[in-house]
Symmetry: C2
Subunit: 241 residues, 2 copies
Amino acid sequence: MTSSLHHRAIDNLGTRIISGVLPAGHVMLAEQLEDELKVSRSVIREAVRVLQSLGLVETTKRVGIRVLPASRWNPFDAQVIRWRLASDARGAQLRSLAELRAAVEPAAAELAAQNAPAALRMELVDVARAMREAGNNGEVARFLELDIRFHSLLLSGSGNEMFANLMGQVAETLTGRTVHGLMPDHPHQAALQWHEDVAEAIARGDAVSARAASDRIMRRTMSQMADTWTEQPRVFIPVRQ
Amino acid sequence: MTSSLHHRAIDNLGTRIISGVLPAGHVMLAEQLEDELKVSRSVIREAVRVLQSLGLVETTKRVGIRVLPASRWNPFDAQVIRWRLASDARGAQLRSLAELRAAVEPAAAELAAQNAPAALRMELVDVARAMREAGNNGEVARFLELDIRFHSLLLSGSGNEMFANLMGQVAETLTGRTVHGLMPDHPHQAALQWHEDVAEAIARGDAVSARAASDRIMRRTMSQMADTWTEQPRVFIPVRQ
DNA sequence: AGTTATTGATGTCTGCACACATCGGTGTCA
DNA sequence: TGACACCGATGTGTGCAGACATCAATAACT
């Protein structure tokens, strides 16, 4: 299960590294981790190997297990994102995800207008119309469900597996926004209209209009959230020489 | 080193899974992999744990190690990308990366104009000017080097670690384009000008112009490459219910 | 200063006990 | 007779313990 010793060891170490409790440069010994987590060597070793593949640690003979700086972490890994969302860097992570989404969704809309399967285009139109209904009726939970489905269909319909992979993060973002009460009970008519515009443009294969409408949604979303993360420190990843 | 038994086991299995030699649904046994790769159980177990975290396999008691479909692979993992570039799906992977880059770079330019450190802005201008010089003189190798640095600085300067993480992939893309002779010895003047436009807009904090100029570069790049991957099959990732 | 020996950590291998999902047999009931 | 629920055998991953191999940082030596 997800609560095997292996997964618990990964989560324990990953949480402590990303939260900063175990800072970059900190060196640990496998043996020390064994009695700290009360597990055997194989559990520690398998966990360390996974953390290594995520860029969280590196192992050196004669030295031990060294924690790597944040610039080495794989920022696209779902688990890394989850750990960051649970840390002090939550705001910065949300901003990064929002910026990525704002960049990707209009491109995905353009591609979906060119490539999406017919069934997906039709469902997109249906979902956009259902969103208006749920939004006008103040059905918050149903609106969230439809909103997630709309944006998932959009990303999936792009035919770009990297775009599609962002479905999970988008769903978490939208859910978080609703749970934290940042969504009005009755979404703005303009936003509802733009969703329908995107769906209909994709349905008729109008890539330019699809991108434009999606871009409007994203710009509005970004400007709404901008003040949430004012003054979140930015992490600049150095350019390797 | 990277040629430890552990890494070789990961590479062996990863290559075979992503190339399709080991198809989705195929079930392997840890013991069988031991004598197939002539390594011990611990090596196999640690390798399988890593492949599991990449979404390439899942393990089930009483069943074995099952290969997962491509829709479960982590498309952002550098190793997965490398394996795909070495497989039949090379064209599709290059297209996905190009589409992602086309979506991200203009957004990165916009953010860099707002957030980049002063030193980075100045270097960006210098690099853009050096690119023109190297391009006009037909110094292909130097131009490639500067091109990589320019786009790396841009992504880094955005202050978004996800954007910055694409530096490696962009470098590989640009290098591949040059190595495969898809780049003219003397880059077009318009492209050189747009690079300077991006740099200068970022230098003066003009986010709108920076995005517009970057967008022109990306649109040109995409239209140049579009015919390279015509008829590459697209992978549609299903929306989870 | 350069070279060699030591040492201590990860890397690799192996045998064992345990947990538990699957499968097939058995018994019960309609 | 047939369908179904139960239950134990089986096989596989999971976790553990101990050993030796390997290699690089450091110390010792020339």
